[in-house]
């Protein structure tokens, strides 16, 4: 079978058509955008799905991933404002929003974002003190995001978040921070203890003071009452004496003599009947007993008149008031001169 030129052309044509179809039919998967270049110049962007491009003059330029992507920013050394050297790493999320811009405005997109993030981490952290840095992660993230997102705008991408992952101060610094915290807590504990003791002592002193004051007040009150009692007693005695003396002044002196004599003899009886005493106490003037008897006799005479026989009875002199010899008794008050 002689193969003619026509036959060869036909075979070539079939192969060519297959190749053309292969070049012209472009299926774009979801999550990607393909840029189309006509003679090397950007023309349009292919959306996900089945697309046809004109073979020969149009080619696929870039296959852009438009899903959100994660970039791990590697650990780097940063010097803070107060000259502490720390190592920090971060993570950045970005998404291509405009495939054409991301494809042609910037070469090596990921490296660009990475370097931008790294330098901005340095500048943001370098403007803060270490303490600020450790406690203000949100603020750092926010500042980073704002700066980086503004910077990537011409590239048609969006940095959705930048997060500082880990901040590692050097080990000796961490130790120092730990010691500082411990010291602060200890200081607080000691201050509290001292305050407690001080308060307790103050309270105790106040209690003692109050107790003393109350005691003194009690004593003062008691003294006042005692004095009052004595006053009242004196008053009562004075009144009693006055009544007695008034009674004497109004009546006869013999009435009192009777009482005195009675007491006197009663006292003698008591002395005499002391159970185990061999000694009998007698008043110095034994005769005064007799005198007192005489006093009774005198009273009797006065009462019954002078008609009784008093021959056996010794006649004592009529006692005058104020005579201590004949009236053996305490004479508390001198007779009032009227």
């Amino acid at each position: 079978m002689v193969v003619g030129g026509f036959s060869i052309v036909v075979i070539a044509l079939v192969v060519f058509v297959i190749l053309v179809l292969f070049a012209g039919i472009k299926t774009v998967p979801q999550g990607y955008r393909y840029t189309v270049q006509r003679f090397g110049r950007y023309i349009r962007t292919l959306e996900p799905g089945l697309n046809l491009i004109v073979p020969f003059i149009e080619t696929i330029g870039m296959r852009m991933n438009v899903m959100e992507q994660v970039l791990a920013v590697p650990t780097q050394e940063v010097i803070t404002k107060d000259n502490a050297s720390i190592s920090a790493d971060a993570v950045a999320f970005f998404q291509v929003l405009n495939a054409a811009q991301a494809a042609y405005q910037i070469t090596n997109l990921e490296s660009a974002i990475l370097n931008l993030t790294k330098t901005n981490i340095r500048s943001v952290m370098g403007s803060m003190d270490l303490d600020e840095l450790l406690s203000n992660r949100d603020a750092i993230n926010e500042r980073l995001l704002r700066v980086v997102d503004e910077a990537v705008e011409p590239w048609g991408i969006k940095v959705t978040r930048v997060e500082i992952k880990d901040i590692q101060p050097p080990k000796d610094l961490v130790d120092a921070m730990g010691r500082q915290m411990k010291a602060e807590r200890e200081k607080r504990a000691q201050v509290l203890e001292a305050e407690g003791l001080r308060n307790a002592q103050i309270l105790r002193a106040e209690g003692a003071k109050q107790a003393a004051v109350l005691q003194a007040e009690g004593q003062r009150e008691a003294a006042f009452r005692n004095a009052e009692a004595r006053e009242r007693l004196a008053e009562a005695e004075a009144k009693a004496t006055r009544v007695v003396s008034e009674a004497i002044a109004e009546g006869n002196v013999q009435a009192i003599n009777y009482f005195v004599a009675q007491k006197y003899t009663e006292a003698l009886t008591a002395i005499g009947s002391a159970s185990n005493s061999k000694i009998v106490l007698m008043p110095m003037e034994a005769s005064s007993i007799i005198g007192s008897l005489g006093g009774i006799g005198a009273i009797a005479r006065e009462v019954f008149g002078d008609n009784g026989d008093g021959s056996g009875v010794p006649q004592p002199s009529r006692p005058r008031s104020g005579s201590a010899r004949t009236t053996p008794s305490i004479n508390p008050l001198p007779p009032k001169e009227t």
Partner: protein, 152 residues
């Protein structure tokens, strides 16, 4: 041997080729073998009709096959498939477009036509009439990176 097989099978060889291409489409990625396979099957159907005719030589069959492949591709692109199919996730990978209709408060005043709002825990540059900070705005359109807003 291969020639003999084709001669022996006659028109069925096109059918065989077509089915093989369709099967290959299922296995291989891409979306172009299916059209060639369909073209082969169509040529096979025509072969059954014209197998005895004098003009239906293999060269003609080849030309018809090539033409059919192109035509089937164009028709398939036009009618069997369009890019605006209904999907249950119309805003996949279109971050800006998915925010249309949302409201937010201005984080920065809109000055010289540009400001900033915070949505979904990130910042968006917005354009619209000049407004002070704290104004409630509604996203009405997006061009990818930038959102167009108007005061609520």
């Amino acid at each position: 041997m291969f020639d003999n097989l084709i001669v022996e099978l006659g028109p069925w060889s096109w059918w065989l080729a077509g089915l093989a291409l369709l099967a290959a489409e299922l296995v291989l990625p891409g979306f172009f073998l299916v059209w060639i396979g369909l073209a082969a099957i169509i040529v096979g159907a025509l072969s059954l009709l014209f197998w005895e005719s004098s003009f239906w030589v293999w060269q003609v069959q080849g030309l018809v096959f090539a033409a059919t492949a192109v035509i089937v591709t164009l028709i398939g692109r036009r009618y069997l498939y369009n890019n605006n199919q209904v999907t249950d996730e119309p805003f996949l990978n279109q971050r800006g477009a998915s925010l249309v209709g949302r409201t937010a408060t201005l984080d920065q005043p809109i000055a010289e036509g540009r400001g900033r709002i915070r949505l979904n825990d990130t910042y968006w540059t917005v354009s619209g009439p000049d407004l002070p900070v704290g104004t409630r705005v509604k996203v009405v359109a997006s061009n990818g990176r930038e959102l167009t807003v108007e005061p609520v």
